[in-house]
């Protein structure tokens, strides 16, 4: 018992020293376990592929150019949807944050439409736009915009009024207050909103690709599902997980932390 | 009340920033008699809190013995009550439930432990705040609760880790005087950690000066009480 505790203690120290390695190391035994279970033949291979099968399919699909093309499609759709969502969401969020009338009028509407959820729109969107980019973009914009608007509004409202007064008394015109006080002040919250929005957005993309798709990682997985082949499904899940892990852990979280901590702001949501 | 004995205490630990083992405490021996009030003073990083954490059982000693009465210390226990610098009240419990926590751990039924906790709250002038949550209280009130929480559990030794460092100067003086009043009545064995020499001299029977992990000197304080 003590030996185990000591080993765990050592591991904790080691993990603190080598955070990148420590983020990867736990996957080694998990993959080994996965491999062992697959090799033992507990489940049929078609249902439960082994790591080499997935690697093989990764290489084949990459070589054929299918995986890169699908990845490009998915990322492109996500980028397009997220950009539009941000461009619409931040100004709307600032409006809702600054104006009491806009807030009273729009807040319940925002909450209600957020509650409907992107995916419930899919059937209607299919009737409107068919199986195409329009449907995908709409779904992602829809998903991203609510967290961005709501968090931007919260961020704007969390700016202490003294800051605005200080800027005013220093002679800043209204638009300067907007660009130099309100926008940076709300930035940590905006980043939180963006991070949440992306979290929902890429799930919406997967759902859209599964249900209406003709290409993309979600389509790859669902196509494999139709063919009853688990290999591509597992590959798709790993690609998705890695992709999102990279985006979230190495890009979004550091930006959010940097803005929030640097300025000593605690972003409450 | 029981005595507290520290015998040839050593503490070394691995410092990842330096990459080697660092000595925090070097051969510290200390004898605190029953009912004696000893203050350990020293600058930040001299190891005074390390000593307290080892006595409390939060940190294992690398070498040496810590003995309360005649029993060696193995881990935290209710024979040593601890008062923390940042109060360490459980935020999800009301003040009275915080003070009664140790009694609850001993299996004392709710009405009885509320009665005892209330007695101690009255001792600290906190009975009006019994049903409040810690974050609704000022720092001074929180630390009053922290002190009586330790006392209510009837420890043999009271360990205080810079207990008044987180409150304002005015409140600190009040708390020091209150501590003297309570200690005067109950005569606990006290190990008191502080960086404030004035505080140490005001409170203690004996002041131990710690520097870089070892005892520099021990000074008995013979000024008669009450001190001003």
């Amino acid at each position: 018992m003590n030996a185990i505790l000591e080993a765990l203690d050592r591991y904790a120290h080691w993990a603190a020293r080598w955070p990148v390695l420590a983020a990867l190391a736990p996957f080694v035994p998990v993959v080994a376990l996965w491999w062992g279970v697959a090799a033992a033949g507990v489940f049929p291979r078609a249902f439960f592929p082994a790591p080499p099968d997935v690697l093989q399919s990764f290489l084949t699909l990459t070589y054929k150019g299918i995986l890169p093309a699908y990845l490009e499609d998915s990322i492109g759709r996500l980028a397009a949807g997220v950009s539009v969502g941000i461009l619409l969401g931040i100004p709307l969020g600032i409006l809702v944050g600054l104006s009491g009338v806009a807030r009273k009028a729009l807040w319940p509407v925002l909450l209600f439409f957020q509650a409907i959820g992107d995916i419930a729109w899919l059937p209607l969107l299919l009737i409107w736009f068919g199986f195409g980019l329009g449907t995908m973009t709409f779904v992602i914009v829809y998903t991203v915009i609510f967290p961005v608007v709501i968090n931007t509004a919260l961020g704007v409202r969390s700016i202490p009024p003294e800051l605005v007064r200080a800027a005013q008394s220093l002679g800043a015109p209204r638009w300067r207050i907007l660009t130099d006080v309100i926008l940076p002040g709300a930035l940590p919250n905006i980043m939180t909103g963006l991070r949440n929005g992306l979290g929902y957005g890429w799930r919406a993309l997967i759902a859209a690709e599964i249900i209406v798709g003709t290409s993309g990682i979600g389509f790859l997985m669902f196509d494999a599902r139709r063919a009853g082949s688990a290999v591509e499904i597992v590959l798709g899940m790993i690609v998705l997980g890695l992709l999102w892990y990279i985006v979230d852990a190495w890009i979004l979280a550091p930006i959010e932390r940097a803005t929030g901590q640097r300025w000593g702001l605690v972003t409450r949501a | 009340m029981k005595s507290l004995t520290l015998r040839n205490l050593h503490k070394t630990y691995f410092d990842p920033a330096v990459g080697t083992r660092v000595t925090a405490i070097q051969d510290v021996s200390l004898e605190i008699g029953p009912g004696e009030f000893v203050a350990v003073v020293g600058p930040a990083g001299c190891g005074k809190s390390t000593i307290l954490n080892m006595v409390a059982g939060f940190l294992p000693a690398t070498r040496g013995d810590i003995i309360v009465g005649d029993r060696p210390v193995k881990g935290p226990g209710r024979d040593r009550g601890v008062v923390f610098q940042n109060f360490a009240l459980l935020p999800w419990k009301t003040v009275i439930d915080n003070v009664g926590f140790g009694l609850k751990m001993r299996g004392i039924a709710k009405p009885e432990r509320d009665r005892i906790a209330m007695e101690f709250l009255e001792l600290a002038g906190l009975s009006h705040a019994a049903e409040r949550y810690p974050n609704e209280l000022s720092g001074g009130m929180q630390q009053r609760a922290g002190v009586v929480r330790a006392l209510a559990n009837e420890p043999d030794v009271l360990l205080m880790d810079e207990p008044f460092a987180s409150v304002d100067a005015q409140t600190r003086m009040t708390l020091q005087e209150e501590l003297m009043r309570i200690w005067g009545e109950r005569r606990h064995t006290v190990l008191f950690i502080t960086h404030d020499v004035g505080e140490a001299v005001f409170l203690a029977d004996r002041v131990v000066v710690l520097s870089k992990g070892h005892v520099l000197r021990e000074i008995p304080i013979t000024i008669p009480r009450p001190r001003g």
């Binding site: 419930a120 929902y200 759902a207 249900i211 599902r225 499904i233 798709g236 929030g260 | -």
Partner: protein
């Protein structure tokens, strides 16, 4: 922490009157929206196959309520969410606490749980339907997944975020291992646990709708998707409204107040 507490100015009146006024200010914009809908539809002469009028949706509501189909769909969806969520929380919370107790265990498991919580929800639908076939098993599995990893991860975060001095304080007052869990670790992690449940349920709810579109023959998602095949937009819109109201009720009446109560009462500041 995704959705946020509504910062709506509160009236100053006492008790019930204030709540009533608050509710009224909340509902008013939605009522206006509802009134504008038929005007817009008739003003632009929108085809019923593109967007339905109010009457058609109302008729669809009456029909599906009277023949019991709406109730069946709602019951199926809520039942799946309840089963999956309950199972996930019951397993995830003890596991998260156990993981959080030891620094080594938590350092080892954190990346794993983070990875799987990132994957949670919809991405599991294909493999779930492959493993469990189309039906209750696959959908419950998707919901379980969405909630389980996020709640376990948040519980772990919550436990590791509890200041060491609180654990020390409890230990020095004589707390046993069990008491440490019930008196310190669980309540300390509770705000995170609730936040985790809220986020996880958000993903689970979406995952549910998506899974029901693909993998079953009853439930709100199925109701929407079948209606699409017949261009019955009034049924689709009815389903969307029901989905919106249900989630609003779950989130605003159960989850948000729970989150606020734990966080504000104890003054535990929650970092998003």
């Amino acid at each position: 922490m995704s959705h946020s507490a509504a910062p709506i100015e509160m009236g100053q009146g006492p008790g019930a009157a204030r709540h009533l006024r608050q509710a009224a200010t909340f509902v008013a914009p939605l009522v206006v929206l509802f009134l504008c809908w038929p005007l817009l539809v008739s003003a632009f002469g929108v085809d019923a196959r593109v967007f339905p009028g109010v009457k058609a949706v109302f008729a669809a509501a009456v029909e599906s309520v009277s023949d019991g189909s709406l109730l069946a769909h709602v019951a199926a969806s809520l039942g799946r969410v309840a089963a999956g969520t309950l199972l996930a929380v019951v397993v995830a919370v003890p596991l998260g606490v156990a993981m959080g107790v030891n620094a080594g265990v938590s350092a080892f498991l954190t990346p794993l749980f983070r990875f799987f919580s990132v994957l949670a929800g919809i991405a599991w639908i294909p493999i779930a339907t492959l493993w469990f076939g189309y039906g209750f098993g696959a959908i419950t599995f998707v919901i379980f997944n969405a909630v389980f990893f996020i709640v376990a991860y948040n519980t772990l975060l919550g436990v590791t975020a509890i200041p060491m001095r609180l654990r020390h304080a409890a230990a020095s007052l004589g707390a046993s291992r069990l008491a440490m869990v019930t008196e310190v670790l669980l309540p300390g992690a509770l705000p995170n646990i609730v936040t985790g449940i809220r986020t996880g349920l958000g993903f689970a709810w979406r995952g549910l709708i998506a899974a029901e579109m693909i993998a079953t023959n009853v439930g709100l998602g199925y109701m929407l998707f079948v209606a699409r095949d017949f261009y019955r937009t009034e049924v689709i819109v009815l389903g969307m409204i029901v989905i919106g109201i249900l989630w609003l009720l779950i989130d605003r009446l159960i989850l948000a107040p729970l989150e606020r109560a734990t966080i504000e009462r104890w003054g535990v500041v929650q970092r998003a």
